[in-house]
């Protein structure tokens, strides 16, 4: 083919023009997102532009690919799937299929991926409760290594890992980072601050119980307040009210109540953060990193007096002080009940519900949009001691599996970083109220909106936050062991099995599964059961399992809301 000079010049001119126009269109698109969607941000607009241009450039080799990820169904992930995935595609050219499903389904899918070797997704947003599973499996990519080695060219220079508040949850005992937090929420105490402030209720409570109606610090106070509203107050403005809310239906979600934090609130495990060592809040003992048993006979605490106390109180409160229908409800059904306006307090309330509980028009929201309720640190059981974890924090975190081809992993990693980048993170936090970065929590914007969030910002800025942690590394196979909880607890609620028998059954179940795991793949941290001994051998030692206390209901303690966070400093 013979091109004249003129033709070549025309061709070059058209190419340059096309390139310039494309560049301009791209920049316009990025500016549109910065101005219209990604505000407010802790970055200034120039810094946001730099980040987005980096994503655009780093994504070039993956343009046109379709990447599959999955996460649980909460507001934060819905924002990612419907807004951020679209923005990412328009900016980078990588199409994202961000599936939204139940957390239970996410766990089953990652389990199948790992155990059956089927590449279902390119990355998962999987709760960090599986950290014990992941670091032992050998099939999960250590992200700190990935970022330094094969993923270096696709790792955002301004990712700023130190800014993430939940890194200790996703780090294995080998100090490797196995996941990257995407969203976090805690289970806290929820109460009707307007009712608690009423002078008539305060006076009556003090007459009956001898101390102030206020935020309960221990389970005794929680129980007294529950009784006060359900039995003594009984009705407010003609409506029956209850001093407690929970759920008890046989369903995997009843297991979450227990595996998440119930035993830690009671004080079952040992001291240690993010999880007790050597015995954690599931009652599983580890020696070095090896799980050695859950039953007291093997040094665990799943059937210890503290664990039995925890289950007994759960059942007692549900039946005595919650609405009668609560025992037939599951997590989803029970979640919206406090918003109806007839619940005085709830000991275990997920902050992920904050957005849905602050909607105008709800009976629990004032006309000016401020909530009538507040959240505060949960009260603790009689076995709890300073230095122990006190509650649960869900940390849905990006998880990369080794079996996924490297090119797909790299493209997925770009999307993962995009949805946690500082460019979008503050806006995402405002939409979903599930903060992951210190910079967002301490931003001016969060200060401005805090009065409408019922104490969420104050909690996340306090040191109390450190006591709210996910399931830890003592649990060697979360999908295998977690059914123990929902298979056992409902027997107490529905069939009248005693708490002692139920926790014995639970401990046996956990031990059997640990034994099963000990026979499978043997690694440095895989379980080896201790030989069974008389439980008194362990009860005589310091720490967990702890001896039964004669008085399991000491005097109730309450404090002003302002002091409720300070006592954990």
């Amino acid at each position: 083919m013979n091109f004249s000079n003129k033709n070549v010049k025309t061709f070059l001119f058209i190419s340059l023009l096309f390139f310039t126009l494309t560049l301009k269109a791209n920049n316009n698109l990025i500016h549109k997102y910065i101005n219209e969607e990604f505000q407010p941000s802790t970055l200034n607009k120039q810094e946001q532009l730099q980040e987005l241009l980096w994503f655009q450039k780093a994504s070039q080799p993956f343009k046109g690919m379709e990447i599959r990820v999955v996460s649980e169904r909460i507001g934060t992930h819905w924002y990612e799937a419907s807004v951020l995935a679209k923005a990412f595609r328009e900016i980078t050219g990588i199409k994202i299929i961000h599936e939204i499903t139940g957390e239970d389904d996410v766990i089953k899918k990652i389990d199948i991926h790992l155990k059956k070797g089927i590449n279902l997704y390119d990355m998962y947003i999987n709760d960090s409760d599986l950290i014990g599973t992941h670091f032992r499996s050998g099939n999960v990519v250590a992200l700190n290594e990935f970022m330094e080695q094969e993923g270096k060219d696709v790792t955002l220079p301004t990712l700023d890992l130190k800014d993430f508040i939940g890194l200790s949850f996703v780090t294995g005992p080998d100090k490797k980072l196995y996941q990257l937090p995407d969203q976090q929420f805690a289970n806290l105490y929820w109460y009707r601050a307007d009712w608690f402030a009423r002078a008539d209720f305060k006076k009556r409570f003090k007459e009956i119980y001898g101390y102030e109606l206020n935020v309960p610090v221990n389970w005794s106070a929680y129980e007294d307040i529950a009784e006060f509203f359900t039995i003594h107050v009984h009705k407010i403005d003609g409506q029956k009210v209850y001093g407690h809310m929970d759920y008890g239906k046989r369903d995997p979600s009843i297991g979450w109540r227990f595996s998440d934090a119930w035993l830690s609130m009671a004080g079952v495990g040992d001291k240690g953060l993010p999880n007790g060592l050597p015995v954690d809040e599931w009652g599983i003992r580890v020696e070095n990193c090896r799980p050695v048993g859950a039953s007291m006979s093997r040094g665990g605490a799943a059937n210890s007096p503290a664990a039995i106390y925890a289950l007994r109180k759960f059942n007692e409160w549900l039946k005595k002080y919650a609405p009668p229908e609560a025992k037939h409800m599951n997590f989803s059904q029970a979640g919206s009940v406090p918003a109806r306006g007839h619940i005085a307090q709830q000991i275990f309330w997920y902050t992920a519900f904050t957005a849905s509980m602050t909607k105008k028009g709800l009976p629990v929201v004032n006309e000016d949009g401020t909530p009538k309720w507040k959240m505060a640190p949960s009260p603790h059981g009689v076995y709890w001691e300073k230095g122990m974890k006190l509650g649960y924090q869900d940390a849905g975190s990006w998880t990369m599996l080794k079996s996924v081809p490297l090119k797909r992993r790299k493209a997925a990693w770009l999307y993962a970083q995009f949805v946690v980048s500082k460019t979008v993170s503050l806006k995402k936090t405002i939409v979903g109220l599930t903060p992951i970065r210190n910079s967002d929590i301490n931003s001016n914007h969060m200060s401005k909106i805090s009065k409408n969030l019922g104490g969420l910002v104050e909690f996340y800025r306090s040191k109390a936050r450190l006591l709210w942690t996910p399931t830890g590394t003592n649990v060697p196979d979360y999908p295998l062991l977690s059914p123990a909880w929902w298979k056992t607890v409902p027997k107490v609620v529905e069939e009248g099995l005693s708490a002692t028998n139920a926790m014995n059954e639970l401990a046996r179940y956990l031990d059997e599964k640990l034994l099963l795991l000990s026979k499978e793949k043997k690694t440095e941290c895989s379980p080896i059961l201790n030989k069974a001994r008389n439980p008194s051998y362990w009860l005589e030692k310091n720490g967990s399992p702890k001896k039964r206390l004669i008085y399991e209901k000491p005097k109730g303690i309450t404090v002003d809301y302002e002091k409720a966070l300070e006592i954990y400093d």
Partner: protein, 247 residues
């Protein structure tokens, strides 16, 4: 006395045999969902047959409406139902062997439809066609969306062809099979959700049997058996959405 002992021994043998048979024999309840199960045949049946034969478990296939198949399995020992989506709501009602098959629910339109669809939210203002009683209907209900429900996906394919709605939500195999049957050109616009379809057993089934079947199923995935069965249907429907999981 000897006669009495013989009698007892015989009785014991019969009892042991029947107990053994009970453990190694199941009723496989099915309901018609083309092309997975139709008249006791189809892709899901083929997978279940290989699984049970490898486990040396005898079976009889019983076909009935979906609801009856599920309830019978819940209420009767040694019964199972093929194949249902394992969900949190159903978890405690059965013991599970799976996934028998992994399917992908997606959003479809006519080939000529030019609307820009990037994320699920883009179609929230459009009515969506979906099959009654399917896992897909459940999924859409969760988003409180406007749906047009038909008795099966063949009817939905015909409705799409007649432009009664712009979008149809179905799993990829069912969509491809029914679109072919209805002679309509469809285009996949967006994958919505990957679903795990399982063989669900009565809750009194022994854990050992369930464990054994799950182990065999794992081997069937790893040794290529599932992929081979899937490819034997490739002239009937498009299965690349499913086979991608094995790459």
């Amino acid at each position: 006395m000897i006669e009495k002992n013989k009698l007892l021994y015989g009785f014991f043998l019969i009892l042991s045999f029947s107990t053994f048979m009970q453990a190694r024999y199941i009723v496989l309840n099915t309901f018609d969902v083309e092309p997975y199960v139709q008249n006791k045949q189809g892709l899901a049946i083929d997978i279940a047959k290989v699984l049970l034969e490898r486990a040396n478990i005898g079976y009889v296939i019983k076909s009935s409406p979906q609801k009856r198949a599920i309830i019978r399995t819940q209420q009767t020992q040694n019964n199972s139902v093929l194949f249902i989506q394992r969900s949190q709501e159903r978890e405690s009602n059965f013991k599970w062997v799976g996934p028998i098959l992994i399917t992908q629910t997606a959003l479809y339109s006519l080939q000529e439809n030019k609307l820009q669809i990037d994320v699920f939210k883009d179609v929230f203002n459009y009515p969506l066609l979906v099959a009654r009683g399917s896992a897909d209907e459940e999924y859409l209900k969760g988003f409180d969306l406007e749906v047009q429900v038909a008795n099966n996906d063949f009817q939905n394919a015909k409705k799409l062809k007649a432009k009664r709605a712009q979008f149809w939500v179905a799993d990829s195999i069912s969509a491809s099979y029914n679109a072919k049957k209805a002679d309509v050109n469809i285009k996949k616009r967006l994958t919505l959700i990957t679903t795990l379809r399982s063989l669900a057993f009565n809750v009194h089934t022994s854990d050992k049997v369930i464990q054994e079947l799950n182990n065999i199923l794992t081997i069937m995935y790893k040794d290529g058996t599932i992929k081979k069965i899937l490819s034997s249907y490739e002239n009937k429907f498009e299965s690349k959405d499913i086979s991608q999981f094995f790459e």
